[in-house]
Symmetry: C3
Subunit: 397 residues, 3 copies
């Protein structure tokens, strides 16, 4: 009796266990992958959303709105294709690697970097040249990825700490764009009028406020661990809240009144700067450290718009149209160096990454700018008149 019942129990336990092992393992694995992919699906879309919002962040010139949108779409299209093409046909990655959710996020991060980068010279090149710029930028981005993921570690400097892209995205965008304008050497841009309107600037407010909102998807877009995602969300929003406050105080303190085209940018300096040290702080103080970093970033960025931009542009003899360097360049440096100092062992890697990104950005940007310069013709800048039918007839004609 006992013996039989034991055998029955054992058999039952074994059968049950095996089925559990099977069900358990399979469903657990599938589930994890599903969860990850579902999260990535949403973040991928959020980053695409941010990419389009960056266009509206640059929409303040009343007579140059549609051109900004079109330029953004064109550079997005070719930079995305260029990135993917290199992955699949040059680097020879297999299909499931190239076209995974994770790599699609890298591709749209490449495109949003390109979109930020064209802000430096937006409105001073011909419309079809954004297509060209995108092709070049896809290659630049792949080169920087290789530099940060392979070259720097292979040199024994360790891996750069940059989960949220202070270096990879923001610094690269700023210095690549500066590489382009240094090659273009377009003096006329200084003299073109840039009248704004109430509503063109309200679009900028909308874009800035929604970029703030969606930013956690951007900085956590490569994280696969929910504890990290939670921490990244905390530090990202707290850094942004810091910049909201300090950028206001600096604007009012220095210029008596707020320049909306400085404030709407500088309030994003916290999220830019938190990119590298996103997960760097001790949990107990992380939120407040991020708030502090955001306060510093917003202040420095606003001050850069007010003091650095005129000096730098005069010195260099070129115009950073959207003041990209004051948000992404300066904010990126702040993030890169903060992580270099805070994260034990990250100093060499992060400093190397920052310097190499400046060098590669300026260099490859200059090549791209040279090609654009050769094929550019004189025209009025910062205007939709050149590229768009003025008052489109109703759709029947």
């Amino acid at each position: 009796m006992k013996w039989t019942s034991t055998k029955l129990l054992v058999a039952l336990a074994f059968v049950g266990l095996m089925s559990m092992l099977f069900v358990g393992t399979v469903s657990a694995d599938t589930m994890n992958a599903d969860d990850y992919n579902e999260a990535m699906f949403n973040k991928n879309m959020d980053i695409w959303f941010m990419l389009m919002l960056v266009a509206f962040l640059m929409l303040f010139i009343r007579k140059f709105e549609w051109g900004v949108c079109l330029g953004v779409l064109l550079v997005t299209a070719t930079s995305f294709i260029s990135y993917m093409f290199i992955d699949q046909f040059y680097l020879g990655k297999d299909f499931s690697q190239v076209w995974s959710m994770g790599n699609m996020i890298m591709a749209v991060v490449c495109s949003i970097t390109a979109v930020i980068g064209i802000g430096v010279f937006l409105g001073t090149v011909r419309m079809w040249q954004y297509l060209v710029a995108g092709v070049f930028f896809g290659a630049t981005f792949q080169l920087v990825l290789w530099t940060m993921n392979s070259l720097i570690p292979d040199l024994g400097l360790g891996t750069p700490v940059d989960p949220g892209g202070s270096i990879l995205v923001h610094m690269l965008a700023a210095y690549w764009g500066w590489g382009v304008i240094l090659a273009l050497r377009e003096k006329k841009a200084f003299d073109e009028p840039m009248y704004i309107s109430k509503h063109s600037t309200s679009f900028v407010w909308l874009a800035s406020m929604l970029l703030f909102v969606l930013w956690p998807s951007f900085v956590t877009g490569t994280l696969d661990n929910m504890a990290d995602v939670t921490m990244g969300t905390i530090t990202c929003y707290m850094a942004g809240i810091g910049s909201i406050i300090s950028a206001y105080l600096v604007c009012v303190g220095v210029q008596k009144k707020v320049n909306p085209l400085i404030y709407t940018y500088a309030l994003l300096a916290g999220p830019v700067a938190i990119g590298s040290p996103l997960l760097a702080f001790d949990m107990e103080i992380a939120a407040w450290a991020a708030l502090g970093l955001g306060l510093i970033a917003g202040a420095i960025s606003a001050l850069s718009f007010i003091f650095l931009q005129p000096w730098l542009c005069k010195k260099a003899g070129v115009l950073d149209v959207m003041g990209v360097h004051n948000l992404h360049g300066v904010g990126g440096w702040l993030g890169a160096l903060t992580a270099a100092i805070v994260v034990s062992g990250a100093f060499s890697a992060n400093v190397a990454a920052a310097i190499l990104v400046v060098v590669i950005g300026l260099g490859t940007g200059a090549i791209c700018g040279g090609v654009i310069r050769l094929t550019r013709k004189e025209q009025e800048w910062f205007t939709d008149d050149t590229d768009f039918i003025d008052n489109p007839a109703p759709k029947t004609q």
Copy 2:
């Protein structure tokens, strides 16, 4: 000793196993349903978001902005209720089927189809008639669902391949709208001026660019498998990228300058056309095939705006106000036929579905249009003046 320990082990194993079986099974099932419902929750919201954006895609007539928004809201409300009412009280589905996440997505897909459809006659009917149009459209959509899911398979033609709605949504919207205008026969619409403004058209850019972004939620809204969702996201974005490029090249090539009211629509032709063949291509070439389809779709749609629209509207003697047919009609046909050819065995079903949707759309649209015509009165079209207090006083008066 050994015996006792064995019994202990067995008992322990059994108790543990049973509890595991229970916990494991339940949590696994619940999890899968939770994952699915969580994904559907987000996609449901994204499609609602797109529905509202379609309003802003049609906001370019400077003096007719609020009326577009109000008309969209009214037709949305009644088409949603009409769809659900038929499900619950006419088809007799039980509550948990009718009000599931999946069916809520079908209902908002019904409503967004109605919103696209009213674009054909927007601004040429009285405001309250959008409420009526929505009631009619809910029934039309249910009829088309039955046709595609039951009638065509029952005729032995197989099931139409249309996961992303090229036929169900886009073709139906276009031909239902055309059914309405053919019944309305409103000649005056041709003569009404449609002045645009810089910012009214910037709203259109915003809507078009964000529709591009959110589109993967729309085409994958009925998929319950993450591998399919990933593939659908790839092909959807790549088709859109194709249209961004080709619509620009065609606009510039044919008309020298870009008509923003053509470009902002035609850049969405890829996502429209990918609806049916969303999952049709071999994985190895899917992304690039989708890019190719998008290139073709953007070009054909832009050409339709330029050449087909004037010819067709003149021939038919009616005005397709928003040029719905050039994006959704033409793009829908392209998608339906692409899937018919590429997917083995889908030819009969897809061709039958496309033809039946044209017939049902035109027929039920004409009935709806006839009712509207009977109750319409003469007034100025394409203006907010008729329906809105001109300069609303502050809210105290």
Copy 3:
């Protein structure tokens, strides 16, 4: 043999079982937590999105657009910090409680309540005072949370039924804002002109329509059960659809034409009112009951804008600038009382919560308003001129 094989089986079963117990339990727990946190991540972002949209809902005064955005950002920053600071340093919650996904949602709900609340006096205080208002409001919100979660249950009245915030968010915002204006006693606000423009009001339409879309994330933001989330999504959207219809009918019925600044607000009264009775109705009739509640809410809210607002503001001698009470106050009362009646046993708790929120809101609002009054100086209201550089120079100067 048998004996050995039995021992082997038992050992195998035991080892397998223990590993399963470990893997199974951990992964199941982690998964559930992951699912929950992933859902909260998205909802958190959606509520932040809504917070920014509330700014655009209040953007209709043509010459006072940027100030609305800036005021919203400033009050958001300090109310968020104030809420978190009290949690961590005054209430002494530990870090993982304070900075969890769930509590981050409570913090942004606090901030969105503050943003709605400032709508009552927006444009009639100095810009930096929004920073002060936020600090005060964080404490008010914590006091109300304690009242609803601890005081009322401790008094033996049961726990208030308010999952979607009719009481906690909407009533509190309205009465706190009224507390502020009653202390400010700003008569001049009545006389300041508030001219709108076509596009400023189109931004309001955009905000209203997208708030409608995102509302389910708001009302289900504290739910951790997918069945409840599904039900909340159903009732939220159906209530909104009801308001879309009834607000239109009341506007046209009473005033012949639609006042866009009434309609765009009143169409949200359904989602406001469904907050408390979100899950209160029997499943079989829930959707239609919510539709009915939305029909009533939209009508009452529109009527409040038309009839209650002028009477109340004249009587009180103060101006509710955005008519916050007509949407959030009236809609909140409707929701609180509906749940009080429908949910068995909730009457005392909900009535007590509603009354206490009115008292606390008015009281703490008056304190905040008193402080603002003491530090305010005379200036023109409802204008960007005071705070912004009029026509910002290009970014080089």
